[in-house]
């Protein structure tokens, strides 16, 4: 088991090293990309602090509390992009037949497809972002306790499981239809709705964001727990849905592989 994990880690490390080398070839593009990301983060924080300045609240949450929802969104979104960037190029792998080679190798095809292209830009962004996040949270007027922080960290793991399940679901659709690009960008737009507490949306949309594409479980619930606010969904149910989503997505992936008949050839 341990040597198997080592093998997977070595494969991932090699892929990450290759992606890093590729990123260093296009230094200027990557630098501008990073600058764009930093600018987006700053401007969103500026907006939230302007709300604070005017003492405006959103759906019953103070602007300081809303900052925490936004920062939680950032952590989850950036982490998913670091590890699961392979999903964004999966349709190309299907169309060119490269995915067929993944199936022949003695390593999980899902692992290769999911983690195929780690994003160095986002990894670097996360390294820069975390100290900024701590500094921002430090000066917020929010009620955070040690148990709420621990609960938050546990629920972030649950969020990561849901993110994984959603990415596997996108890959599954890719295997069945060769179409990934639109779906993954749709997911990115949906997760962006989680920058703010999803409880603010119209009831049917709120339901979708909690139970269909569970952005609310990924972002809103952990942030509510951190803020010592009663969570909108029972924590047991949220965890159950997190674990359940991974199991269902894995089942769907294996089923889709059985339907696969090599799109390229």
């Amino acid at each position: 088991m341990r040597s198997r994990l080592n093998t997977y880690f070595k494969v991932w490390w090699l892929t990450a090293a290759n992606a890093a080398q590729s990123a260093f070839i296009n230094r200027w593009s990557n630098a501008l990309f990073m600058l764009g990301k930093i600018l987006r983060l700053i401007m969103m924080l500026v907006f939230l602090f302007l709300l604070k300045d005017r003492q405006l609240s959103i759906a019953g949450y103070s602007s300081d509390q809303v900052v925490l929802f936004f920062l939680t969104y950032q952590i989850i979104d950036v982490t998913a992009q670091i590890f699961y960037r392979g999903v964004y190029v999966f349709s190309q792998k299907i169309r060119t037949g490269e995915f067929d080679f993944y199936l022949l190798r003695p390593i999980s095809a899902l692992f290769r497809a999911l983690t195929g292209q780690p994003d160095l830009n986002d990894a670097l962004f996360l390294v820069l972002f975390l100290p900024v996040m701590v500094a921002v949270v430090w000066q917020l007027d929010v009620h955070i306790t040690l148990p709420s922080l621990l609960g938050y960290l546990v629920l972030l793991l649950n969020s990561f499981m849901i993110v994984t399940a959603l990415h596997i679901a996108v890959l599954t659709i890719g295997v069945l239809t060769t179409e990934v690009d639109n779906i993954i960008w749709m997911y990115r737009d949906l997760i962006r709705l989680g920058q703010f507490p999803v409880t603010m949306y119209w009831a049917p949309i709120r339901f979708v964001l909690f139970f269909v594409v569970p952005i609310g479980l990924m972002i809103t619930i952990p942030a509510q727990v951190l803020l010592n606010v009663p969570p909108s969904v029972n924590l047991g149910l949220a965890t159950l849905l997190g674990i359940g989503s991974v199991i269902i997505s894995l089942q769907a992936w294996h089923w889709a592989l059985k339907q696969y008949s090599s799109a390229s050839s």
């Binding site: 593009s29 405006l56 779906i183 949906l190 962006r192 119209w202």
Partner: protein, 270 residues
């Protein structure tokens, strides 16, 4: 009887083909429009909940802010929608060669594609706008006929500026395939200078003044300010001057970069 001059009919045909081509992949189109709808929905929801216990914020009334979000979503469908996002790749890969060999003005060719793409996006954004209107029931501010007239001209100028900026970015393909970095930065800046989430004038005055000397606010923001009647006559005059200056500057730069690129362009073995 065909009343269109022969020289224009081929561009009209291109326009029709581009319009039809955009409707071939219906699921892609549907998802693309749904994505646009989501960002508008988020902005409308945020401002609606902010205004539930406020009558005004950042010098905007509820009607003004909701009108801003509605307008920006429709205006961006016109100004920012583009079919030329792959231009740099097409140049770098040599795919542009066949267009260069045809008896046509390439800028007219691009314009025909752009007009079709923009009209398609505006058409769908109006339908989405109607759906959102039914959902939020906002009070939209309507300007005078005279303001409408100026607004349309400013929107066209904004569209032309964005077209030239797209050509400039696309021209990078003559020298490098790496255009996504500068384009990403461009869209990030655009996101808060002409963004759906909030208008530029809620930012600190110093930031506004710096941004107003760049082309970004002229790609949606000033047009909407005009529509909402939030510009003084002096600001309107500056709006006209800035829009015209940026149209000329971006046109000259696009011409220069394109000419320089095509002069050194080689596509062996295609």
């Amino acid at each position: 009887m065909n009343l269109m001059p022969q020289s224009l009919s081929k561009y009209y045909r291109l326009f029709v083909l581009s319009w039809q081509n955009g409707l071939v992949y219906r699921t892609s189109l549907l998802i693309w429009r749904l994505r646009q709808l989501l960002s508008t929905l988020m902005a409308l929801t945020i401002w609606s909940v902010i205004f539930t216990d406020q009558s005004s914020a950042f010098s905007y009334t509820r009607s003004e802010m909701i009108s801003y979000v509605f307008l920006v979503s429709i205006l961006q469908s016109l100004i920012l929608a583009s079919s030329l996002h792959s231009l740099a790749g097409d140049i770098y890969n040599g795919n542009i060669s066949q267009q260069l060999l045809k008896p046509q003005n390439l800028f007219m060719h691009f314009s025909a594609l752009e007009v079709a793409d923009k009209l398609r996006n505006v058409f769908f954004s109006l339908i989405e706008g109607a759906a959102l209107y039914a959902l939020f029931m906002p009070t939209i501010i309507w300007p005078s006929l005279q303001t409408w007239f100026v607004f349309i001209i400013w929107a066209i100028l904004g569209t032309v500026i964005h077209f030239f900026i797209t050509i400039i970015f696309g021209s990078i393909g003559f020298w490098s395939p790496e255009t996504w970095g500068p384009k990403f930065l461009f869209f990030m800046i655009l996101d808060f200078t002409a963004g759906k989430l909030y208008p530029l004038d809620i930012l600190p005055r110093a930031v506004q003044q710096v941004l107003l000397i760049t082309p970004f606010p002229y790609l949606s923001y000033v047009q909407i300010q005009l529509f909402l009647g939030r510009l003084t006559s002096t600001q309107m005059a500056w709006g006209w001057i800035s829009l015209l200056i940026w149209t000329v500057i971006t046109w000259l730069v696009a011409q220069w970069v394109w000419t320089k690129g095509t002069k050194g362009y080689e596509a062996n073995g295609l």
